[in-house]
């Protein structure tokens, strides 16, 4: 190689070195406020992904709902304006409605039951979501939903006697509550506080962490001790961007995401418990629900849930969820 060729070759290689392969930027939207345990978990995920991929994968987190609500985030992901989102089970069931089966009221009744059933159903849910263009990288449990009310709630009649907030975005649920004899007021979550203050509503359902964070418990000072329903959540990535990743790298990224998801779940459960203790300190009263009252609630739920609310749900899949739950109960009698 003569001197001229040597210089050209050197220049060629230095040019190659100065243009690293283009990083894949994944934009993730989340409703979690900045600095909250969820947001901290996502920041950690961004750090780990950048480190593992040596800068090839950049996760940009847009917290605090700046990417819109869950419906907006799904729409934006479908047109690639957003590539990933942190969502509750309600949001995920907008993509695959059968996910709601795991969050039905008074169905799964403990953390252990939920973990078991979710672990059994994950492969099916993952596959169905992937078919619809969404790759789940974290499944997590967000907390237990309870009733909060101005007057104590033990029996269904106690709740029927109070004006009850229900999210207006689910007309089937609104209809079901109405038909079951409840005085429901369909609104958006942002209306809860002013409506509690004005008396337009007297009760709502939420996790203890939400009731404390949004200060709703200051007006509705009674919490029904019965776990009404579990709220699950997850982080999904648009498959059009996920499938661009090298499969070996993708496996590593998913593994670390799951590890962080487990840590996040522990933090969130701790925060939920702490929220309950603080609310009690500030005057929240927790009512105990005896077995007879719980049976009355279960009877009410079973009377028309399957026939009316779940009429459009894949029956086989619901049966599968039920089978896993019964299996767990048999194994742990």
């Amino acid at each position: 190689m003569n001197y001229k060729n040597f210089i050209i070759t050197l220049l060629f290689f230095s040019l190659l070195l100065s243009f690293p392969s283009k990083a894949i930027v994944i934009k993730l939207g989340s409703l979690a406020p900045q600095g909250s345990p969820w947001d901290k978990g996502l920041q950690k995920l961004a750090y780990e992904w950048e480190k593992i991929s040596q800068g090839e994968v950049i996760l940009k987190v847009y917290s605090g709902g700046v990417a819109g609500d869950e419906a907006d985030m799904i729409r934006k992901m479908r047109i690639n304006q957003l590539n990933a989102a942190g969502m509750t089970g309600v949001g995920l069931s907008r993509i695959f409605p059968e996910i709601i089966t795991i969050q039905l009221p008074l169905f799964v009744q403990s953390n252990e039951e939920l973990n078991y059933v979710l672990s059994k159903m994950k492969p099916t849910f993952d596959k169905e979501l992937e078919k619809r263009g969404f790759k789940v990288i974290i499944w997590s449990f967000v907390g237990w939903v309870h009733f909060f009310s101005k007057k104590p709630v033990i029996m269904p009649e106690d709740l029927k006697a109070q004006k009850f907030f229900i999210w207006g975005g689910d007309p089937d649920a609104v209809m079901l509550w109405k038909e079951s004899g409840f005085h429901v007021v369909p609104l958006t979550p942002s209306d809860i506080m002013p409506s509690l203050q004005s008396g337009m509503i007297e009760a709502f359902s939420a996790t203890p962490l939400s009731a404390a964070s949004y200060q709703w418990f200051g007006i509705a000072k009674n919490m029904c001790g019965m776990k009404w329903a579990p709220l699950i959540g997850g982080i999904v990535v648009n498959t059009s961007i996920w499938n661009k990743l090298d499969p070996t790298l993708a496996t590593k990224l998913e593994a670390v995401a799951q590890q962080i998801g487990e840590e996040m779940q522990k933090e969130i459960l701790k925060a939920d418990e702490e929220a309950l203790n603080i609310m009690k300190k500030y005057g929240l009263s927790v009512t105990n629900v005896p077995l007879s009252a719980k049976e009355a609630w279960i009877k009410l739920v079973n009377s028309n849930l399957e026939t009316k609310y779940l009429k459009n749900i894949n029956k086989d899949l619901f049966e599968e969820v039920k089978r896993h739950l019964n299996e767990y109960r048999k194994l742990n009698k």
């Binding site: 939207g29 600095g35 345990p37 950690k44 700046v66 404390a212 925060a271 603080i278």
Partner: protein
């Protein structure tokens, strides 16, 4: 003999106490702190403030019943923590996550220390204030306050709220937010123009960044923005930054974000010597925000955003 010694000792102690009170009062007056706030060298002030804080604290320890001195101590801690701990920590990227968390934890601790000084100061003026605060009866706690307490209430709210902004997972501090909001409402009631519209600035960020379900309200944020600009005659950069980082980010309105920050950057810090340091620090923040806009705005085509 013992009696004479006792008299000397008593006089000596009294002289020392009078001297401490005098120094404390001189330092705690508005003019005492303007030596810092009118400076044009943030680095110099950043180096000097820790020493000043320790001086305030030792004076406060020797003169624990001087509410003005306790307030000045809390204020100094708050100002230092914001400009030299919280702000730099918030500008660290996720690749410095550990350092960021550590600094924010430290900032939270210092804000709570400041809050406790100010609570002590108010308790000296209103003995039942703490009793009602612990009972979460804010109205009763505020019932006996008067316009003379304006600064105390403002700085109490700021330190308490700022501690929460450093650790949003602290549920106890989250539940305490309405207290800060009530204190600043009282400040507005006593003096709507307090400190060139500082109370309005608080509400720009509060109404602009809180979720609607927690009382967030864009219209109210904009109303307070207009009033803050009026009170400061447009000489302070901070109201522009408060609106840009709250409402504009929430609405993903990059054009307005950029325009507000550029207005903040165009303010001549020398136009208002009393707020010179705050304006310089705010402008550094504005510049950083413009440089990192892509971390806050999803769309790449920033200028085409509505």
């Amino acid at each position: 003999m013992i009696f004479v010694l006792y008299i000397f000792c008593f006089i000596g102690c009294s002289v020392k106490k009078v001297a401490i009170d005098l120094i404390g009062s001189a330092l705690s007056k508005e003019k005492g702190s303007s030596v810092f706030s009118s400076d044009d060298d943030p680095k110099l002030i950043g180096d000097a403030l820790p020493f000043a804080i320790k001086l305030y604290e030792s004076l406060a320890a020797n003169s624990p019943k001087n509410p003005q001195l306790l307030l000045a101590t809390g204020k100094a801690i708050c100002m230092y923590t914001y400009a030299y701990i919280q702000l730099p920590a918030e500008q660290l990227s996720y690749s410095n996550l550990e350092e960021k968390e550590k600094s924010l934890k430290r900032a939270k601790r210092l804000y709570l220390r400041a809050r406790d000084y100010i609570i002590r100061a108010i308790s000296l003026k209103h003995s039942d204030f703490v009793y009602y605060i612990k009972k979460n009866d804010i109205n009763s706690a505020l019932r006996k306050t008067s316009p003379k307490d304006t600064s105390y209430l403002y700085w109490l709210a700021i330190s308490w709220m700022a501690a929460f902004t450093c650790d949003k997972s602290d549920i106890e501090l989250m539940v305490d937010i309405p207290k800060s909001v009530a204190f600043v409402h009282k400040v507005l009631e006593f003096n709507p123009k307090y400190n060139y519209g500082s109370a309005h600035e608080f509400f720009i960020s509060y109404y602009g960044s809180m979720p609607e379900a927690m009382g967030g309200n864009e219209n109210k944020a904009r109303e307070h923005f207009a009033k803050a600009i009026e009170c400061s005659q447009g000489k302070k950069a901070s109201p522009y930054i408060a609106l840009a980082t709250s409402v504009c980010v929430k609405n993903q309105n990059y054009n307005e974000f950029k325009s507000l920050l550029q207005t903040a950057l165009n303010i001549n810090p020398d136009i208002d010597p009393e707020n010179r340091l705050l304006n310089i620090i705010s402008q550094q923040k504005a510049k950083w925000l413009l440089d990192h806009a892509e971390d806050m705005f999803i769309s790449q085509e920033r200028d085409t955003l509505p």
